[in-house]
């Protein structure tokens, strides 16, 4: 059982690394164009042990944390209101669609202009990118809550708060978590984009440094690897929450 789950991914990973090394070997690329997996791995370990990586990771994680929580909460609230108020739906839904169509890359410099380049400004960018998928998935999930369950609840005279807490939220949870799954990986993207607009530390800043003044391409790759690992870890966290709390309808 456990072997079936562990062995195939490990084989795939080994094949990927081998292919990468082979490409570098055959193409004879210098490390400042395409470093091989061994070079990147070594740089990754060094950057973590000599204290280069840690402060950047801390900054990026803080932005992801604040932005994700803020954006997800705002998204859930908006999605709920859109699903339950016909007026809000008419008034707000065009803006939601328009807003989600605007690329965050184009919006980021504007946010930097208004809010600077600190934790707050970067969290706003993360929150914006998280907001839309969470709002839309919450909207769809709450809208899709079985009306027969709502009628059942009404027959027992639930208050609005009870209806939300005891029926709508648990019923919509699988859908909302689907949005959070998308949102959490986008949060990582948002944080990097935000850091490109300016800032002292952060993995996005480190990428810019490695590409520019430091000209340390293996370090750039090591930063990319770190970002990917953060993404995988956060995604797994949401999936874990999903397994624990989301019970699909019969």
């Amino acid at each position: 059982m456990i072997r079936d789950r562990v062995v195939p991914p490990l084989v795939a990973l080994a094949a990927f690394l081998a292919g990468w090394q082979l490409l570098v070997f055959v193409g004879n690329y210098p490390p400042f164009i395409l470093p091989g997996p061994l070079v990147v791995g070594e740089r990754f370990v060094v950057a973590w042990t000599d204290g280069t990586m840690a402060p950047h990771v801390v900054t990026t994680l803080a932005e992801i944390g604040c932005g994700f929580v803020g954006g997800a909460l705002a998204g859930m609230l908006t999605g709920y209101v859109l699903a339950r108020s016909r007026l809000a739906n008419r008034v707000l839904s065009p803006y939601l669609v328009a807003g989600s169509a605007v690329p965050i890359l184009a919006l980021a410099p504007l946010i930097a202009l208004w809010f600077g380049s600190g934790l707050f400004a970067h969290s706003v960018i993360v929150a914006l990118i998280v907001f839309f998928p969470v709002a839309v998935s919450t909207w769809v999930a709450v809208h899709g809550v079985d009306r027969r369950l709502l009628e059942m609840a009404r027959s027992y005279r639930v208050t609005r708060g009870q209806r939300l807490r005891m029926v709508e939220l648990p019923a919509a949870l699988p859908g909302i978590l689907g949005g959070l799954r998308i949102g959490v990986t986008l949060a990582v993207v948002g944080a990097i984009i935000a850091e490109w607009t300016g800032g002292e530390t952060g993995l996005g800043v480190l990428i810019n440094l490695a590409r520019g003044s430091l000209f340390d391409i293996p370090l750039l790759f090591a930063a990319l690897l770190t970002i990917a690992l953060i993404g995988v870890a956060l995604y797994s966290l949401v999936v874990l929450v999903e397994r624990r709390y989301a019970i699909p309808a019969v």
Binding site: R157, A171, A249
Partner: protein, 294 residues
Amino acid sequence: MTAEPGRALREPGPATGDGSVPAIFLDGVRFGFHVDGRQTEVIGGLDLEIAPRSIVAFVGPNGCGKSTLLRVIAGLLPARAGTVEVEGRPVTGPDARVGLVFQEPRLLPWRSAFANVAFPLEVAGRDREARERRVTDLLGLVGLRDWSRARPAELSGGMRQRVAIARALALEPAVLLLDEPFSALDSLTRERFNVELLRLWERIGATIVLVTHSIAEAVFLADRVVVLSPRPAQLVADLVVDLPRPRRPGDLDAAAVTRTAAEIRAHLEGATDDAFAVAAGDVPAHAQPDQAIP
């Protein structure tokens, strides 16, 4: 429904023949939907009195508004005109005096059987200890004490409907409304459930009103069978089932049952051109369709 609770409290409501207050009192009840700006009448002026602790079955063609009528009695839908009273007091909204069991169990899939039955008690703000006592009693009453931790997905269709009945009884309603509660069950299970329902009724002492498509079921369970016309629903016939209690499945062969069933069938066929709208073949079809309709 006139929403004047103060006045209604002083007036005990209309009295039945033996001087007690009827469990359910309907006076000129009308109900309609607006569809594309057009008013569709679903219930067209219904008067009915139901005695406490009796069982009354509503039968009628498909889509005649039987389920709507139950929702009006339960306060889920407002009557457009007329009065709805339960135990002499008007129904102005969803009401604790009325327990409603829907056609489907409508259980919360993420809750255990226990937590589903506890739902109305939580909503009503009962403390944990009181909830646990009441739910344990109720699960015992419907024979599911060993299944309290099971999720709906782990229960059979019949068990789910039993949980739904236990939930409807949680707040000790005076009236239990059942909207074709066993229609999704196979006929053998259904027969057993009907026997169980009668046993349950003897223990809880509530008034039961049930909607059914099955004439046999109506006759077996009810003291009175109310036959409704196609939309807008109106009273076609109000028949007393003259069969002693306690009743057993074997009683279904009694001459009185056959006679009553034939009578209901005749009324139904008089009320609708589409005899198949009534579950065909429920009862041996020796009813005479050309019987006179009063």
